[in-house]
Symmetry: C2
Subunit: 521 residues, 2 copies
């Protein structure tokens, strides 16, 4: 093979992914528009447009000559490390995209559509029975998907699903992390609850109109270093972040007229996502290697801002001053904000859970969905199993399935393997923040002044700009000097909720994790 | 040929245009977003996305089997009238799309890009010399385009350009309409100026903040019958309307903090466009036959609202009451609004011109561009020719080329044949309004109460729902009972500016027009 041909293979790969990436950005814009701008009746057609773009991407990914191209490209010795990583990531995308028979992909979309509609009704009526046949089908499709992926990759079936959201994630790794938290959290929660002095948290009493919350959120984003020349912000009833181009990161915040802190928390979360996207290497952004490293890593970037940063004593002091000045009030005192943020209370609904009880919501879902996929739990027994775990892990019991196993849309949409990443993200966030503060000790003092430069630079260099060049594990290890473990997360909780008390470390778990992950690489 | 094959040809045609239409809607959304939402740095990539979508449309339109398909479809006797019209319109699109060699299309885009950049600078510096070489190229490309189209269609070269914007328009037809206005307007303008009592118009003095203007504009759109389930409205510094889906018509208004009437005028104009699009037959909207009938007709729908309706004595009474109540003021009196709208003053800049002098701005551009395309005027002589016509038609003379031949972007963007449609639209608007009032006599009384139902129904039935089923001429004739002529336009001006005085009709011109257009059909 001559150099000319070699060159062409890589260029051809780039050019195909340029097109796939462009189709993806257009789809992202339509998706953003459908949630933020589009008139009521436009939804159906926008759905068709997105399906069309996705079909066009699929057409490119299923061209018959990919295998030969990858075979040739993998033999190449002239590619630089970004290019090699790009070939690796491209091949993974191709495997995922071609592993599933067309019929399964179609059935999957249909089942998820029907599942979501049925779920909306079942949840409203708290009627698990009407949803059960759908869940049965959803689980069946997910098992088939897992089996098809597993046949191509050699992963365990449930791991193949995990891998779709966070490449490199396995249930063995999760078991280590989650078992450790299951051991740590119950005692910690009790300890933290003791510090919830004075019972109920005082509600905010001031006037926090939408326009002011929007303006405050924008200022906060500027403070954090979000680049408004390459992005925008809107307010809606539900928060999200999406990227519509190399220079077009869109953040949507959520306001709460009764609680301006919820709006701050949501905007810091989504801005964390947006800053990750803005920090990706622009020259690679349309290529697989230039994509974010996975859902858990993405979540780590949002949770880092929403948890360790927002809830640090240093930043609370800055925020308190800003909020009192901006809203012309004095009720946003350091004490009030701290209490609002650092109260722990086990409860039934995941999305309202505090940082300490949240992982237990995730862990029980992880255990249940793994059992569903592996055939160890039958759909009809889900409500009972759910309620038992709630009681065991959190000490609370749902009165009905609406506040029990029907509360989340994920399974109804066919998303199995997605929940764990929320908590893996929180664990990684704490580890990143710990490493950043170690390497740039002035970060806390900076945050107290609303200066994000130290933290942003560290994240840009060690996380954002790495994109998908390294694996999830390697990125974390390179950035923080160690394997992912729960230590920093636990320390972070202790520090903020217990004022640094109760520093016992779970040596056993850390050692176990290290052994497991080392064995797997 | 068996029925099966026959059926497939038409279905194939529909399916191709479904895809072309979908690509067009996506492009429209990106275009809307780039002007209303997108962050500063996203523009370049959005431009690439639109070019990509346009290339995809072009790929479909240049498939090699169209000719045979049209040959077969034109022989079909089983198609209904909408289907037959669709084949006719589809073929026209195919001819336009394939008449031009790829190299010319590319050169055209490049020349227009360079032309617009050069124009921005030349206008700022009032430096025609620096723009002249670009205009030279733009004219050359337009002539080549005209020649290529003309070779395919048999039209005169300049007519081929007219036809791109308003199918069916010819310079012979324009000559009749425009010569008549050239005869009528100078005297009318003098007469109307005499009625500009009291010299200068009093400016508005009240407080008209952006949010209030936006809210008022939205209410007005609701009053007019714009369906917000199938559309939205935004405010920006320049107004436009675009359609991003069958149920997604977007109107962008322009505000003027010093003059709330300008915002009303702009929103009524753009809502006229939006209502046309909302009134198109939904089942055909992605097909050529379901498209708006052309630029002049589109403009007739906006100008009908902005001219004859907004400026009718009945609607002014309604508007005055609404504005005074909404803005809590008394300066929006009937007298003040009337004076604001009905003052005539020849001036240099087209976009600021009143309704009576506007056609003369258009006519001189029409004459000049026709001469440029036909080779009867050299680019270097344009400023002199421009200034001479301004003096002759409007009695004013530009001090420099910035307020002369450099004021409009159209030619710099390669748009020759576009200007005439503004005035053809105004002429058609008056004729439609006259016919509507004749057939639904309660329209004026309804407008006085802010009730658009009679007018909207008439337009829906006679104009909007017809889409491109009929030719431009036939649509007008069917809706109004006569050929397009200047009579209603002149009457409308007289009625509003002179209070109905001076009703002499130009019998000669009307007869001439009838003879000409009859000959051409």
């Amino acid at each position: 093979m001559n150099t000319e041909t070699k060159k062409d293979d890589y260029k051809e790969l780039e050019s195909r992914f340029d097109e796939i990436g462009r189709l993806g950005y257009m789809s992202a814009l339509i998706g953003w528009d459908s949630r933020v701008c589009a008139p009521q009746d436009a939804g159906e057609e926008q759905g068709e447009q997105m399906a069309y773009l996705s079909m066009k991407q699929h057409e490119i990914m299923t061209r018959p000559d990919w295998k030969e191209m990858f075979d040739r490209l993998e033999k190449r010795t002239d590619l630089n490390d970004w290019q090699q990583a790009n070939v690796r990531e491209a091949k993974q995308e191709w495997i995922r995209e071609t592993a599933l028979p067309e019929a399964l992909v179609e059935q999957s979309a249909k089942t998820a559509n029907a599942g979501q509609s049925a779920w909306v009704k079942a949840k409203a009526d708290s009627d698990f029975k009407s949803f059960a046949p759908h869940l049965q089908k959803l689980v069946a499709v997910a098992r088939e998907t897992a089996a098809a992926l597993s046949a191509k990759t050699g992963q365990k079936p449930y791991d193949a699903l995990l891998d779709m959201y966070q490449p490199g994630m396995t249930s063995d790794k999760l078991d280590v992390l989650f078992n450790d938290l299951k051991e740590f959290l119950p005692d910690f929660i009790k300890e933290a609850q003791k510090q919830n002095v004075g019972g109920q948290i005082e509600p905010f009493k001031g006037d926090y109109p939408l326009e002011k919350q929007t303006e405050f959120a924008k200022r906060l984003m500027q403070t954090m270093g979000f680049d408004f020349n390459r992005g925008r912000m809107d307010m809606s009833s539900s928060a999200f972040q999406t990227t519509c181009g190399k220079d077009d990161m869109r953040v949507v915040g959520r306001y709460d007229l009764d609680n301006p802190l919820r709006s701050v928390s949501a905007i810091m979360h989504e801005t964390g996502h947006g800053m990750y996207e803005q920090g990706l290497p622009k020259e690679h952004m349309l290529q697989p290697v230039g994509k974010p490293r996975g859902m858990a890593l993405h979540e780590s970037q949002s949770l880092l801002m929403q948890g360790p940063v927002l809830q640090s004593n240093e930043f609370i002091r800055y925020l308190s001053k800003q909020m009192n000045e901006f809203y012309k009030t004095d009720e946003c005192s350091v004490e009030h904000l701290t209490k609002q943020m650092h109260s722990v209370q086990p409860s039934l609904i995941r999305i309202n859970a505090d940082e300490a009880t949240y992982p237990l919501h995730v862990i029980m879902r992880y255990e249940l969905e793994k059992d569903l996929i592996n055939g160890d739990l039958e759909v009809k027994d889900l409500p009972k199993a759910w309620n038992a775990k709630m009681k065991e892990y959190l000490g609370v019991e749902p009165k009905n399935d609406k506040e029990g196993c029907l509360q989340d849309i994920h399974w109804a949409a066919g998303n199995f393997g997605y929940f764990p990443d929320y908590t893996v993200g929180a664990i990684a966030a704490a580890q990143f923040f710990e490493a950043a503060k170690k390497q740039v000790p002035e970060i806390p003092r900076q945050l107290e002044k609303g200066d994000f430069s130290g933290l942003k630079s560290w994240l840009n260099e060690n996380v954002h700009s790495q994109a998908s060049k390294l694996s999830f594990n390697d990125l974390i290890k390179k950035a923080t000097g160690k394997e992912l473990s729960t230590e920093a997360f636990k320390n972070s909780l202790r520090e903020r909720y217990l004022g640094g008390k109760s520093e016992k470390t779970s040596v056993r778990s850390a050692a176990l994790l290290q052994a497991k992950t080392a064995a797997e690489r």
